[in-house]
Each structure stands twice: as structure tokens, then as C-alpha cells.
Symmetry: C2
Subunit: 336 residues, 2 copies
DNA sequence: CTAAAAACATGAAACGTTTCATGTTTGAGT
DNA sequence: ACTCAAACATGAAACGTTTCATGTTTTTAG
């Protein structure tokens, strides 16, 4: 059906090499250029990227692996990453592993087979061995949002320790003493750091840490919902909750709504990630906002530089500051 | 770096054909199987899907084109589609065209060059010619959420006319007479149908249609925000608003919040798409929920059947019912 | 034990490109 | 008009698979 380079050659009477050169932006005689252009139109020719990839062993394709396509942080990240990649002639194959490390491994293999030139990943943390194997094959890997302790590869993250500390400290400044945190899975560096920020502030102000106020969930709304209920059912419930990702934030709000607990009068809340959410929730929600554009920029830049070879040698760790956006969801419990 | 089929052949002393047969699940002598398996381990062999694709002219890859990666409806749709595809040995290359028909065309070409076996698309409506060209190349196309009037291809949609009518009729039943609708772009079939449902109900109840109450936006939050403000600024503002997609719904809520307009006491609202949203918003939001699983199932099924050849001939139009989930965001304006 | 059938192995050709060493044309300078 | 670079064209080989017609081995049945 589709014309190939050979058809163009036959049609124009020129050689394969000439057509190939033209296709790739090389110089050809004016007369030939016209002929080729006409033939391309006529035969509806499109480069077969598969064949090209086989020859060049560059697929001009980056694998992108994320925990879930329904995760707001991930989709807004990869949307931006894709935009940059395509600007540089690359495309992304996006895979979600549905938070399942086994599936994450499969996707890794899949992408290798697809001959991707590099992999950008938001890793589960349970596939370090497999990621190392990818690196061993000479395929660059950039992790985003999370770092992998045993892996020497480029990473782009936010200073989770610091921003978490800021959020908790803001609670403390508003006289809160029973501050709960709902964390993500323990093996994710990001979750760990956010917890550490929480603990550090407690240490700094010499507040006692009540283990009941520290809950670990997965990064799903359901989890936020359940853990929030658990917190509310405590003999001495918290006066403030720090929800450490977007879906958990949603879950917390839905639990509070269900029990008709008013924010911030009855309970203060700081959420995470989606600035739009703060406009939609009433009262306006205070939350931690991550610099999505910066994260995406840095990630793509790192990957492209590794691919072009302009960046070599030791892995880079790029760290950005998140921002605490204060709105109306926190007040002092003493003002009741 | 990576071992090829040839290396395996050399390493085992067997022929290329045998290795190939084994890789593809064919039968080989037991002794040979062992040898091959050992060699594969040893040489860390992975099939080069690029080379395979070149030979078979099947990439086992489906192109998926959506308006935006930040569109909730789209991401939840493709997340499910991907899941099904990978279950059947296919993978998806996901492209978003950022609501830009020009970019949509580029993505179409890109996917053709990538030799995708089929394309699943949520089309802008402005690329019918290009989509026809894809079909002319013998590549199956399935449109989801929207149909293309001039194109004969499979489509999976929701009965937008009907559900929109139900929503508006619900307003009418609650004594609303000034009902606003915020539609999507006019050239999108889905938007058109939702408007038609609105008009039909007005006709049915012999209500006058005030053109001021019909607003057209794009499917972004900002648009919902602005158009909602415009509605509120009308000399005689609506008593109810029907927001016809998720982002518009968010925009409407944020505009209402900004002006401290209470739902439903001061204004009734029916939103769209995200059931979780209704739990997070207070009061619980009534909304139209689309059967995402069914949409995704049908889409994938149609595509796979076209690819396997089990479905041939005239295009199928699969239509599902959406559901109106009533919560607390609508009351009669007379009960004020 | 033998012949025929069944099961498996072989290797060259092909898929649509790019590459590169070699060949041909062009036109500037004299 | 001739020479010589410079500019461009040529076509065979290669990328890593699959395919298929043919060849070889194993199994089965008589």
C-alpha cells in the first residue's frame, strides 16, 4: 500500500542513496529535488521509522513509565515531558504499571524490546535490580519524583524534606500540637522524606510524636479516605492533617465531608499537588504545589543530554523547591 | 551490547530458523530447547521488536491520540484501553495533541511512520481528511467519545443526546426555568449532541430558549470559569447550570466559590464525569457519569477485531448509556 | 528391521532503511 | 578548451528478524 524509498527511486530513476540523502535533509541537485518531492507526494511516501530504527539502532523513542495514568501528578508531569521530547524529535511510549512492581518489570522489558533510546520512570522502588540491568545495557534512565538508593542514575526530585517541614511548621505556628500525617508507601523515597520533614519539625519544637498520628497508605483516594477515618476515630483525634499527595487529599476531604466535619473550624488541612483543587474546595485549600514545569524541563533536559552525549559521567541529582500555598484551610485550634 | 538471534545461533550451533521458531513458541527438540534457553539467559537476549516489526510489518502497537493528557475523561479512558491492549499483546503509543488540530495531524503522520497497526482517537473534528487518509492506507481507526460525520470508521460513544436531556429534564422537574448550559466546541459531535438534548427538552416542555443561557467554551477549566462568570453577570442570571464536561464543571465551581454563591441554595448545578468529585465537593455534586469501562472495552474490542480480521465490513457505531447521579447540588428555586 | 510418515532443522531471501567507498558531473579558473 | 576541486550520485552491504522450500532426523507401524 504505502510507497517505500525504493518506489521513489524507481519512479524518479534515481538511486536509493540519493533518495535517502534527500529524506534526511542532505543536498541533492535541484532537478532531482523536484522529482523526488513530486514522487513523494504522488506515492504518498512516509519514512518507515521501523526500518530506519533498525538500521540506525536509534528509535528516537523514550520509554516513560509511571505508576498510574490516573494519578494527577504523573499525568501532568508526562504531559509536559512529552511536549518537550516531541520538540526535539523524540516521542514517548507511555506505560503505566498500575502500582504493581511486577508489571513495572514487564514494562521495562517491553520497552527494551521496543529499543527505546532511554527511559524516564517514576519507580515503585521495588525494581532496582531490573533498572540496573537497563543501565548496564547502556540505556540512560532518569527517575523523577523519587530516587533509588542503590541505583546510580540521574534523578529529578523536589526537596520533600524541606517542604514537608514547612507545612508542618505552619501548623505548629498556628498552635497545632496534634498534627497527623498521611504518608505514601514506605519504600518510596518521596514518602520517606515527607515523613522525615514531619519528624524533624517535631524534634525542632520538642513536640512529642504520637505514632497514631502517622499513617501509611498507598497513593490512592480510598487510602486517604480510610486513614482519615481511622484518625478521626482516635480517642484523641488530630487537630490538623497533612495529606501528602493529591489522591490522599481527595480521600481525606471526602471522609471529612461524610462526617460533616468543617474545615478549618473543626479540623485544619494541608493538601498536595493540584492548585485547581484549592479553587474548587470550599474553603480554599492550603496545599503544597510542586513545580511541574521545572520537574519536566529538568527531566527532559537530562535525558536529551545523555542521549546527545553532552552530559557524561556521574549521575546528576536535580532538586527543586516546592511551594506552600496558604489559603483558608488552616486556623488555630485555640480560636474555636 | 545486546545479543541477537544470530549470537544465539552461533552460541548453540543451531540455525537462525530454529532459534526464531523457538522464540515464537514453535516446537524444537528438547536438547535444543535447553541449549537455546541457556544461551538466552547467558547472552541476555531480548527480541528486537523493531527488526521483527520490519519483517512482519506488524508493530503490535496501537496509536492512541487524545486532546490532552490533563483531561480526566481521556486519561481514565486510555488507562483502561491500555490495560486491555497489553492483555492481548499490543501496546499503545499515546499522543496528546493539546487540543490543536495541526498537532493532531502531525501525530497522525508520526504514528503512521511508526507503523502502528491501528489508531484509537478522540478527534478534534478538524482532521477528517487526514483520518480518511489513514483509513485509505488500510489502517483501522476507532474514534471514541466523538463521531466524525464524514468518516466511515468504527466509533464508540455515549448517548449524549439522551443523558443531556435527562439532566435538563431533572432541572425542569425541580421547577427551574432559566437553565444554562456550558457546551464544548461546536464542531465536536459530543458537544453538539449535549446541546441538542438541552434544546429538545426545552421544546418538549415548551420552554423558551434564551440564547444567552447557552455558552460555548473549550473543554478547559478556565473556560468554565469565564463562561460561568458571564452567566452570573447576566441581567437575569440562570437558576441552574449544566456543565458538560469535567473541566468546565471545575471552572464553574471555582467561579461560584469566588463569588460566594452557595450551591444549591443560590444556584443549582449538574456537572460531568468524575464521580470522585462529587464526594469532595460540598454539597455532594449531582453529575453525569460516563461508563468508562464499557467505553474502553468496546473500543479495544472493536480495534482488536478489526486487526484480527474477525470484524469486517461496515463500520460499527457502539453507543452506551450514561448515568445521571443525583446528589445534593440541585433544589427548586422556589424553595428559597 | 525397514519404509513411510511425522517431526524438526536449515539457510537464503526479504522487510525498508542508512552508510560509505567509489564513481560521475559540474563549473570555476586559467 | 582543459584541469581539478567540489559537489553530487551510485549501489552493495548491513541492521535483526521471519519465512519457506528443502533437507535431515526421529518415530511409528507393519
Amino acid at each position: 500500500m504505502a510507497g517505500t524509498i525504493k518506489d521513489i527511486a524507481k519512479h524518479t530513476g534515481l538511486s536509493l542513496g540519493t533518495i535517502s540523502k534527500f529524506i534526511n535533509g542532505g543536498r541533492v541537485r535541484e532537478a532531482n529535488r523536484d522529482k523526488i518531492e513530486r514522487a513523494i507526494k504522488e506515492l504518498d511516501f512516509h519514512v518507515n521509522e521501523i526500518a530506519r530504527g533498525l538500521k540506525t539502532s536509534k528509535s528516537k523513542t523514550i520509554g516513560i513509565i509511571i505508576p498510574s495514568m490516573e494519578n494527577f501528578f504523573c499525568t501532568s508531569l508526562i504531559s509536559r515531558v512529552e511536549k518537550h521530547l516531541s520538540k526535539h524529535g523524540y516521542s514517548g511510549i507511555i506505560c503505566d504499571y498500575q502500582e504493581d512492581p511486577q508489571m513495572e518489570k514487564e514494562k521495562l522489558v517491553f520497552l527494551i524490546n521496543k529499543m527505546v533510546d532511554g527511559i524516564i520512570i517514576v519507580p515503585s522502588g521495588d525494581t532496582q535490580k531490573e533498572i540496573q540491568q537497563v543501565l548496564d545495557r547502556g540505556i540512560p534512565v532518569v527517575t523523577v519524583d523519587r530516587i533509588l538508593p542503590d541505583i546510580a542514575c540521574d534523578s529529578v526530585v523536589v526537596d520533600n524534606f524541606k517542604i514537608s517541614g514547612e507545612a508542618v511548621e505552619y501548623f505548629v505556628g498556628q498552635d497545632h500540637r496534634r498534627i497527623a500525617i498521611i504518608c505514601g508507601p514506605r519504600n518510596i523515597s518521596t514518602a520517606e522524606e515527607r515523613l522525615n520533614g514531619y519528624l524533624a519539625v517535631h524534634e525542632k519544637f520538642r513536640l512529642t510524636v504520637d505514632p497514631d498520628l502517622i499513617q501509611f497508605g498507598d497513593y490512592y483516594m480510598q487510602s486517604g479516605y480510610e486513614l482519615c477515618r481511622r484518625l478521626l476515630d482516635l480517642p484523641e483525634p488530630p487537630t490538623a492533617i497533612f495529606a501528602t499527595n493529591y489522591d490522599i487529599t481527595l480521600g481525606v476531604i471526602s471522609a471529612l465531608n461524610e462526617r460533616n466535619i468543617r474545615i478549618p473550624e473543626q479540623l485544619s488541612l494541608i493538601g498536595f499537588d493540584n492548585l485547581n483543587l484549592s479553587k474548587v474546595i470550599k474553603p480554599a485549600l492550603s496545599l503544597v504545589v510542586q513545580p511541574m514545569d521545572q520537574l519536566a524541563d529538568a527531566t527532559t533536559k537530562l535525558m536529551l543530554e545523555r542521549l546527545e552525549g553532552t552530559l557524561q559521567g556521574i549521575p546528576q541529582l536535580v532538586k527543586f523547591e516546592a511551594e506552600l500555598v496558604i489559603k483558608d484551610s488552616v486556623i488555630s485550634p485555640l480560636h474555636k
